[in-house]
């Protein structure tokens, strides 16, 4: 899977690159508008992550160009928080998703995976991990071919975990994924625990493995190792 990351902030770009590289993605970076244009004209990518505000141009123009030449490429817009105009324009001209800065690396990773999943299996969108089988569009989850019923939050949590498997997910990242960052509650972490407990119980009941581990203070890890 090839990903192009267009982000002018070098250190941020490196962080994202490192995180994504561990997912066996081939991640290329462009720090400027010109670099980005050069790359999209030379190579094909499965997914492009575009920062709208670049020092030498507007990320929206890159999206327009991509839409002309590489229709099958997934596009995620990254832009400053609360720039609703960017969000609306971006989605109108064909971006698949929008992520407000600052974001968690795990969140970006999950979004990229979701887009690639939807695009590569042309309709047959599914996730398999050992005994777990998920059909995201139907919101169906099977453990050892036995269906389990999950709430919306548990379902989102499971997909988020599997997208970031073997990674430590901070509680903040999980809370933001499930409730958005507007909820901003001090004790929001307590109710993450409730959902995790239920999810774990439901998987165990159908003979699944116990994948979720608590990482001291920080958060959780959905580990296969």
């Amino acid at each position: 899977m090839k990903i192009l990351l267009i982000e002018d902030e070098k250190e941020l770009s490196r962080s994202i690159e490192t995180y994504l590289a561990q997912e066996s993605f081939i991640c290329e970076t462009a720090l400027t508008y010109d670099q980005a244009r050069e790359k999209i004209n030379l190579y094909r990518y499965d997914c492009v992550v575009v920062d709208i505000t670049l020092p030498d141009g507007n990320g929206l123009d890159i999206i327009r160009e991509l839409k002309k030449n590489q229709l099958e490429t997934g596009i995620i817009i990254v832009s400053a928080k609360n720039s609703v105009d960017d969000k609306i324009t971006g989605l109108e001209i064909g971006a698949d998703d929008y992520l407000a800065k600052p974001f968690h690396l795990a969140e970006l990773n999950a979004r990229i995976k979701s887009i690639i999943r939807r695009r590569s299996f042309s309709g047959k969108n599914e996730i398999r991990m050992n005994e777990i089988h998920i059909i995201p569009d139907e919101m169906e989850v099977f453990i050892n071919d036995k269906q389990i019923t999950l709430t919306k939050k548990e379902f989102d949590l499971l997909i988020f975990f599997i997208s970031n498997k073997n990674r430590v997910l901070t509680k903040e990242a999980i809370a933001e994924h499930l409730w958005g960052d507007e909820i901003d509650l001090v004790d929001s972490f307590d109710f993450i625990y409730t959902h995790i407990k239920n999810l774990r119980r439901k998987i165990l009941e159908k003979g699944g493995e116990d994948y979720i581990r608590t990482i001291y203070g920080m958060g959780y890890k959905f580990g296969t190792s």
Partner: protein, 433 residues
């Protein structure tokens, strides 16, 4: 009291004072002049009578000579010489009326050694009439003069103070947030010109400082964004490391928590300055009811966690013209606030209609004064983890759309009321569309 009324009153009082004192002096002077004249006449007549007595030892025919009351009594003894003038009242000839008179009383002895007493009476009625007439004329003069003075003063002042009132009007309509600097109309009166100049200079300086401050807040928060995002992303990478000990993990966790808080704080400040700088210009019709219902759903876990029972009275669409993001933030901040400061097993009520939005919650009594509730960083220490910007943002959003925000404590409930401006016109507009 208006300046004009006050100066007029001062004019009136001082003129009245001058008139009373002046009138008193004037009256006395006139009266003494007239009396002097009367007395002189009396003395002259007396002299004539005495001359006659001494010259011919006979009395003149008074009636033909003087035509008024003279009484001479002659004695055979000598009389001591005396002379005095006073006011007196005598009965008229036909004894029907009393006449107020000036009276000369002389006693003397003639050369033929016979004593005599002369009484000369002169009626002063005419003199009195004259004085009264003069005083009346003066009073009339005074009243008309004063009336004229006040009128002229009033009109002059009114004209002269026009630039002042104009300046005052411009000042009261001036809003430091507006684009245009304060501009005052020109005037030819140098004092007002100086005043206008001073005011304009002051407003320019204040505006510059205000803009600088606003710009600084926004720039500072904006510049902080990237380093904070970098720190967070590096920490996220760091925790992925397999070799971390529990102690190291604890350290990272503390750093991560702190950075998250700074980041939240910074986002809040940036949001406030963006609202202040009117960067949420895209206005659309938003349905507050939908936003409220969605937010309540999103907060369901929080309600369950704290055993909060909720009640929502918003049965009709509430259409407002505002920025969608800001509407979302307004509602979620209010609900989040009502959850944060709620007690376990408490209540939360949301009520929305065309005129206002009310969010009430049970909770401990306020540890800060209600006036400071909507200020930045004013938070009760009960939940010191929170950043303390939530309600400041609410007020900022409300200000932008001329909504009123107020806090009330009624029926043991902390209630925040956001009142929408001109609910009727808003309603009509939405009905027309």
């Amino acid at each position: 009291m208006k300046l004009l009324t006050r100066t007029s009153i001062y004019y009136f009082i001082s003129s009245l004072l001058v008139f009373v004192i002046g009138g008193f002096i004037f009256y006395n002077v006139i009266q003494s002049i007239f009396y002097k004249q009367l007395d002189d006449t009396l003395i002259t007549e007396k002299k004539l009578i005495e001359e006659q007595i001494n010259y011919s030892d006979s009395l003149p025919d008074f009636r033909t000579v003087f035509g008024h009351m003279i009484q001479v009594t002659v004695f055979n003894d000598r009389l001591k010489k005396s002379e005095k003038i006073n006011d007196t009242i005598i009965a008229s000839d036909d004894r029907t009326e009393l006449i107020s008179c000036r009276h000369l009383h002389v006693t003397n002895t003639s050369i033929s050694n016979r004593g005599y007493i002369i009484h000369i009476f002169k009626p002063i009625g005419e003199t009195k009439n004259l004085i009264t007439a003069i005083l009346l004329a003066m009073t009339f003069l005074f009243i008309s003069l004063m009336g004229l003075l006040l009128l002229v003063n009033y009109y002059i002042s009114k004209r002269v103070w026009i630039p002042f009132y104009r300046t005052l009007r411009s000042l009261s309509h001036y809003n430091i947030n507006q684009e245009e600097p304060l501009h005052l109309t020109k005037t030819r009166i140098s004092e007002f010109r100086l005043l206008n100049k001073a005011l304009e200079n002051m407003s320019i300086k204040i505006r510059r400082d205000f803009l600088n401050l606003k710009e600084f807040t926004e720039n500072a928060s904006h510049e902080l964004q990237t380093p904070l995002a970098i720190i967070k992303s590096k920490l996220e990478l760091l925790v992925q490391s397999e070799q971390l000990t529990v102690e190291q993990m604890q350290l990272i966790h503390s750093v991560y928590d702190a950075v998250t808080r700074i980041s939240k704080l910074n986002q809040g400040l940036l949001l406030i300055s963006k609202i202040e700088n009117n960067q949420f210009s895209a206005v659309e019709k938003v349905d507050l009811q939908k936003i409220i219902l969605r937010n309540l759903e999103n907060f369901e876990d929080a309600f369950r966690m704290k055993n909060i029972s909720t009640r929502c009275q918003c049965n009709e669409p509430v259409i407002l013209s505002m920025n969608r993001s800001l509407a979302e933030i307004l509602v979620s901040n209010l609900i989040s606030n009502a959850v944060k400061h709620n007690v376990d097993g408490g209540n939360l009520e949301v009520l929305a209609n065309q005129t206002n939005l009310r969010i009430s919650n049970t909770g401990h009594s306020l540890s800060i004064s209600p006036q400071r509730l909507f200020e930045r960083f004013s938070k009760s220490d009960r939940t010191s983890e929170s950043v303390g910007l939530g309600l400041a943002i609410v007020r900022q959003i409300a200000n932008l759309y001329r909504m009123q925000v107020e806090y009330r404590y009624e029926n043991q409930l902390h209630t925040i009321i956001v009142s929408f401006p001109f609910p009727d016109s808003e309603k009509n507009k939405s009905l027309k569309e």
